[in-house]
Symmetry: D2
Subunit: 327 residues, 4 copies
């Protein structure tokens, strides 16, 4: 009854590689690449787990010294922060384009001039031709995509600080063993960290939103993954939640990776395991100065890392922007 | 080698009873009463689980119709909100003093004039002779004990709202089965609820802090118990975290149930399973208008319910304030 | 650079519907159907949530009374146990084939003669032409696929009982609110249930393995999903773990939904979120009578429910067996 | 109204110290000692956290080199396995009695002859005068206390192995950072470990139950604490669950730290946070050879470590056996 679909004239898939494929970000990047029909994963490295299965059928993890960053279309750097600079340099010399998921080329790193900042939903054009893309941090992704359209339309009262109460699952802290990340330490706990408005992701946020005062307080959630940022917006005269949603909807109308909730605030369960960003806003009763409460929710390993990395790769290689993503 | 201690001249213990002893608040109240050497639990009721063990050795749960609220020193009401009024009335007629853990006699209930508001750490005197004590809500307990000393000393800039980003474990929502409280719904999720600055605990907070604008946004944490309130304080000119801590320390110097962290912000794990409130404050870099970030952490079933109820009982019966508490 | 793939001569997709699409099994079935390129979901019903989004873009949940089971290729029944009989009858009269995910037509139901038992990995042939398929229970799926090849080859000592110590996440108990499934009850707990070798899934296991004595003890795990069955196999003379693995490997060589671990025992994390069954076996030192310990791990909502339902549908409609599954 | 209790003729409290007080076992031991009215904690050491608060009011952690094991009544060793031998030797030379919570002097260590095995519920007498007590392992505590009374009365069929399917929370694996104990690895997972009947706790079990064949398979639960051992008992002719319970009840009648469930099987939540062992047994339908399923549940840090250590100390110092324990 059913004749099965046939594909014709498929071009050769793009060749990609992943360095640091045994960390949480690397595992997720590899998982998405394996699902993407337009690419072929040539290698995935891990210093510590070389020889072990990579999670992609038929592909074992290689030692970093065994692989050649040349002869690839795109190389993904998922190494710990501070270890990406050398790899990016080697790739550049070999003519391979790079998506760097570490902080090493982001605003505030001192090397931001070498890279295009890959916040693809806001400025895709420069990414298309970039040789080196700095993939944004997980926290800034939610904050910037939420605030930029509001700032651009003058909807915020910039004389007051925007308070960002953020909460993240523990994969955001990486996979290196540390006591404070042990199951028995995290389960049943919840705490603020990087107190005093000093989290290094602030550099990224401030670089892109210089006119806004940001007060950013992250917290650690007892869950594996997901970021939910509750953002208290001091709004300009006459601005309410409807107007905020309208600004988002207009900006992201044709973007399948961003959902604006028609009412209420999104929850983490709406986005964990996806490459989506969900946005919502509500008005508040009984406060003299007008404050709208917004929420940006995303999976720190999805839209906050691997999902956005693939979105950048899609732009670089000419695929549809959300190809291979979980939307 | 060791002669064991002997006690002499112990007076008869006070007689207490618990209505609604199969909910989370009732179970915890009963657990604390069973540890308290100065009281004897005469009965514990549960409509649904009458006949089952109460958790206190030798005491089974009674049906509500079987017990007599007279002939007690103190009756604890742990029934669902809305069910305490009749019990309080019956106890009053029988001459029994009452600690009501429901919202039924709190500010905003319309019946607050009938009761003393039992925020014992701030105003213990009226509790001592009260016939009916309205035990404060879990969220207001943290907010009020954190803010009142600051407001009293004029440390806050009252022209800006205080943003309270609160997060609570699920026992705060009670033990009646609801889909959104099922394990598979809550695990791995985190979400805002009661959005729009409308949570009913706001009445309590506003009644005691009428001069401060409050923006209160609660969230549901995937943990059984504990409340952590991150409070963004717009401070008056020259006020910093050291000054905030000083105000708390002076007020609560001799109070064993309140801990002021000498530096940093407390975590939930510091207070879960205890009857403590932990307070902390930090300064923030790089925001134009001065904002100090404070945290109030408590166990919603401990200091936020049963612990505070026993503290009130201790005042009513002349015990040391922290007798029987987990400090 | 990349010409994107073109598809030619795609036949019309098969029409499917889901009854009971707001329970955990229904949600997962709908999710898999939405990913399957060969089918089109015509409706998804929920008595309680009619009108709400279904999770499939563009499809809202219908009230059960609004839908017509005729004019479909396959209808999936994900209603609570006991509610499937009427739907199956209506579908039969309308000429629609049915995959029933409830226990209503499984061995032991009294209605098993009306249906083909859909343990597709063991006997796919009868499923192809079945009008009504009884989708196996989650626990029996693991037990039967593990034991049947061993029994068939005479590898077990049938004079001793096979002890099956099973553990399941809470979605296995359904989505109807019950106190014992609340987050605060389950978190941090672990317990045996259905004690005394009386779980209703035993009927299914015994019907297919009449010659083996089964001792089945399920436990509730504080996790949302996943089943891990630790099976203590009394083995025939000379049989060891290598021989057990060989029997599995031979039977399931070409089956992409079953993985035999080359060494060691699989963990839940290997299978949660997939439609795989993972099998492993190890020898034991220092016990007189030979016992091999085996583990069968699967996602109760994947291979244990929705995954297997789609596998049955694939057989019924002529798709490749693992089409649309997460292997 | 209430005259408060007075104590007279209190002897000087016993002097105790804890080495390794920043691990999970050490923290719990210190917590219990702080509650115990008959002892005074003189020091608590931690190599890594010297100078930090110990959790006991007024006591900071000391560096191991700063403390003197002499001049104490009892020294508790909570160091990692392998590190206790030197401390025990130093204490012996200083005339200080020792409770060693590590495996270093347990059966199978090669040093068992130097110590009394402190399974106090079975053989308290030798503990009273012991200079060095080897505190039992967490798994053996449940298994031995469950099986010994049954073996002693000949209730087991010793020709078949006793299958012990054990599951433990992660604190059982210690507090040293290891990747497989990270929150994001453990949450949502469940797995067997130490496969092949080779767990080192087997030595202890076999030393005390040489006539019984034991098949012991531990699993890791995604919870912080608690052990639940499901034990499949091949029973002698005519023996049923009632008879099993009777054997336990007779043996442990006057023991406040052991609860025999009158029916059904205990759950973890019954014992977590306590120093209890809970036992239960049920018959099984429909298996040819008679098998009774038993469960032993305990907190690995309570009865399985610190609780039992205090029980041993109570015997050594002449306190009531359950003094200071959470029963």
């Amino acid at each position: 009854m059913h004749v099965y679909v046939m594909k014709m004239h498929t071009p050769a898939p793009a060749a990609v590689g992943v360095v640091g494929a045994a960390g949480y970000t690397g595992i997720e990047t590899l998982r998405l690449l394996a699902r993407h029909e337009g690419v072929s994963v040539r290698f995935a490295t891990s210093q510590r787990e070389a020889g072990a299965p990579s999670g992609v059928p038929g592909l074992r993890l290689s030692a970093p010294g065994e692989v050649d960053p040349g002869d690839l279309d795109v190389l993904f750097l998922c190494v710990p922060h501070g270890k990406a600079v050398g790899w990016a340099e080697r790739a550049r010399q070999a003519g391979t384009r790079v998506v760097d998921l570490t902080a090493d080329h982001r605003p505030g790193s001192g090397r931001e001039a070498l890279a295009v900042y890959g916040l693809a939903d806001l400025s895709p054009a420069p990414v298309r031709d970039a040789a080196l893309v700095a993939n944004p941090g997980c926290y800034p992704t939610g904050v910037l995509l939420a605030l930029e359209p509001l700032a651009a339309e003058g909807l915020l009262d910039t004389t007051s600080p925007v308070v960002i109460n953020a909460a993240s699952g523990v994969t955001g802290a990486g996979r290196s063993p540390r006591r404070e990340l042990l199951f028995a330490e995290v389960a049943g706990d919840y705490r603020a960290y990087a107190t005093g408005n000093v989290h290094r992701h602030l550099h990224e946020m401030r670089a892109l939103l210089p006119e806004i005062q940001l007060l950013f307080q992250p917290h650690l959630l007892p869950i594996p993954r997901g970021i939910l940022e509750t953002i208290y917006l001091p709004v300009a005269n006459g601005v309410d939640a409807i107007r905020i949603r309208q600004a988002w909807t207009e900006r992201y109308a044709s973007n399948p990776t961003i959902r604006v909730n028609p009412e209420g605030l999104p929850s983490l369960s709406q986005v964990v395991g996806t490459d989506l960003l969900a946005l919502g806003a509500v008005d508040n009763e009984g406060v003299g100065s007008a404050v709208v409460t917004a929420v940006a929710a995303l999976d720190n390993l999805g839209k906050g890392a691997a999902g956005q990395a693939l979105q950048n790769m899609n732009l670089m290689l000419g695929f549809p922007p959300a190809e291979g993503l979980r939307c």
